[in-house]
Amino acid sequence: MGLQTYITERKKDKDLLVMAHVVCGYPSFEDNMKELEIMAEAGVDLVELQFPFSEPSADGPLFVRANEASLKSGTTIDQCFEFMHQASQRFPFKILMMGYYNTAFKMGEEVFVKRIKEAGGVGYILPDLPVEEFANLHRLSEQEGIEPIVLMTPTSTDGRLAKLGAASRGMVYVVARKGVTGSKTTMGDDVLSLIARCRQHTELPIGVGFGVSCKADMDFLRGTADLAIVGTAALKTWESSGAEGLKVFFAELMA
């Protein structure tokens, strides 16, 4: 089942899906597994597994430190794929690889899509791979049945959105504001008009991320977006109050 169909199916029972995020190997793979258990229990629909990279220039401070600490503790790509494999076997949610293009480039684009497929992932998000550069990887992905997630942003012109929309598969990731991951986004008319603008250029489900952190944000997005993408807020919660805190966080978020 493709990602679009999966999202459509899940949306029959609820009006706003949730995509969560973990940084592989941070604080540890054991902790990652506990996080995923909590996410699964809360009913999270999609999870991005971030493969750590030494130059995570699109990430905010919390994820930057997480990437760094994970690499320092010796996290390898093999471990990340192995973890993806375990998680995809065990949990009902779908899994995306998230990371930076060099990870794919170094192993070879063909190997990259094959390994995601073998590990049970359904797609990937590479924020530093622009539309001008992704033709080959997208072609390989299509052959393998893996979906590349395209990002649309507030600075994208209509012409650009049309180009991005044409290349999108599975779902579209709408970046709610300028900046890096993790800072607060004021959910308001700007976000609504951005989503509306993106809708004109894609019929795929739309996930909104960057700064989505609480139930109020969820309420705001309900009825306008298809998925809320929650990253930093969950990791922050895990760091400050551990597994119990994370349970409460997702329970409240998805209430």
Partner: protein
């Protein structure tokens, strides 16, 4: 040879290298920058204004000096030096910064950000921002802030805010990442003054264009002074902006050999160096917005780099050089930390010149090769920066005991003043 003619290939690519690998959010900003740059590059008036600004503000044209003593001592080629160390703020960095300052005015932006390693580019940017009235924030790795206090002192006194970056290795590449993060947030009013010919298109082309003034002057000067073109031109290569600058003057001269000198750090096999092309440790990758040779591991994560010269201590080489190296147009060699210290001492004693540690890498290679060349052959070295302002670093590099005693005394004095 016009390496910037993209009509036959992909815009922003030099062979397989270069490109733009940035988050979608920056696409519009890069397009805006590219359009503005194209306008400037095709407008002869812009270049005239740029040259006039550097003449009146930075002391261009910088001269060429014949190193008669050193040439005699080595017994081979005649050595000439292009003196970009004589620029205001002490290095070639000011060329690019002034050019981007003019461009920033055209863009209508009032705030500039920049990364810096040794602090030279940050210093130059803070200087330009003061002159042009821009708000200025400089990102610098915390390790570099600790070892380059004099440059931080000047940046702050020139009115810039200096941010010590605590991520990663806390050096130049981490400062670049932090600039990217600032830029994706504040692009509406902010221009990123990238300091070298690296990063996403159009930065490699733009920085090379501004630095080409070095090579244009040098070619004319050496013809006048030595009566003919040099046989070899040497320049140090970190990101590669000063080398691109001087080499461009000789791209069409097939008999002029161009030699890029990278930082060999602790030497071959040490894995503590910044030699991307001269040693075999680098491989092709994509990071910091562009594709080139990076010092990275098999999984694409960047390795630690090292050089006695902070300005050369960087993971990637500019994409233009990656291409020209493969084409055999530029040869790459490396100089180790130890060789650099020896060459610096030799240059100071025989010629009274104090090249920056970065530039001294070019001297090392030239000094090695000069003796085996004929007395009528000519070498041109780009002295891209001066070393006297880096007295703390050089005193450390030379392990000068009298300097250490002085600093200890100064520290005692400050401590007692505190009490």
């Amino acid at each position: 040879m016009d390496i910037f003619d993209f009509s036959d290939g992909r815009e922003g690519y030099y062979g397989e290298y270069g490109g733009v690998f940035l988050p979608e959010i920056l696409h519009a900003t890069i397009e805006e920058l590219l359009a503005c740059f194209r306008e400037c590059k095709t407008d002869p008036k812009f270049w005239q204004d740029y040259v006039a600004l550097l003449q009146n503000y930075s002391g261009r044209p910088t001269p060429i000096t014949h190193l008669e003593n050193l040439s005699r001592k080595l017994g081979g080629a005649q050595i000439y030096v292009k003196r970009d160390d004589l620029n205001h703020t002490g290095s070639h960095k000011i060329n690019n910064v002034m050019g981007q300052g003019l461009l920033c005015q055209k863009l209508g932006k009032r705030r500039v950000i920049a990364e810096t390693g040794a602090g030279q580019h940050g210093f130059a940017t803070a200087t330009m921002a003061a002159k042009f009235g821009f708000d200025c924030k400089i990102y610098m790795g915390a390790v570099d802030v600790a070892r380059q206090r004099p440059n931080v002192f000047w940046m702050e006194n020139l009115g810039a805010e200096v941010i010590a970056v605590e991520d990663g290795q806390k050096t130049l590449k981490d400062a670049v990442n932090e600039c990217m993060r600032d830029w994706v947030t504040n692009m509406a009013d902010t221009h990123y003054i990238l300091g070298t010919a690296c990063g996403p298109h159009p930065f490699p082309e733009m920085v090379s264009w501004f630095q080409s003034i070095i090579g244009m002057e040098a070619r004319e000067q050496i013809l006048k002074q030595a009566g003919r073109l040099p046989d070899r031109v040497y320049a140090c290569v970190g990101g590669g902006s000063n080398a691109m600058g001087i080499f461009q003057g000789f791209f069409d001269d097939d008999n002029v050999e161009l030699i890029g000198c990278e930082a060999g750090g602790y030497g071959v096999g040490s894995y503590m160096h910044s030699a991307r092309l001269a040693y075999d440790d680098a491989s092709v990758g994509v990071a910091q917005g562009y594709k080139t040779y990076f010092l990275q591991n098999d999984e694409g994560n960047m390795n630690e780099t090292h050089s006695v010269a902070a300005g050369l201590d960087y993971i990637g080489i500019n994409p233009i050089f990656a291409h020209l190296w493969e084409q055999g147009k530029v040869r790459f060699e490396a100089a180790t930390d130890i060789e650099v210290k020896e060459a610096l001492t030799l240059t100071m004693r025989t010629e009274g010149l104090i090249p920056a540690l970065e530039s001294t890498h070019a001297f090392v290679t030239a000094i090695k090769e000069a003796p085996s060349m004929g007395k009528d052959e000519i070498i041109l070295i780009n002295q891209s920066g001066r070393g006297d302002k880096d007295i703390f670093t050089i005193a450390d590099a030379l392990d000068d005991s009298k300097w250490k005693t002085f600093i200890a005394g100064k520290a005692d004095q400050y401590r007692s003043e505190k009490k």
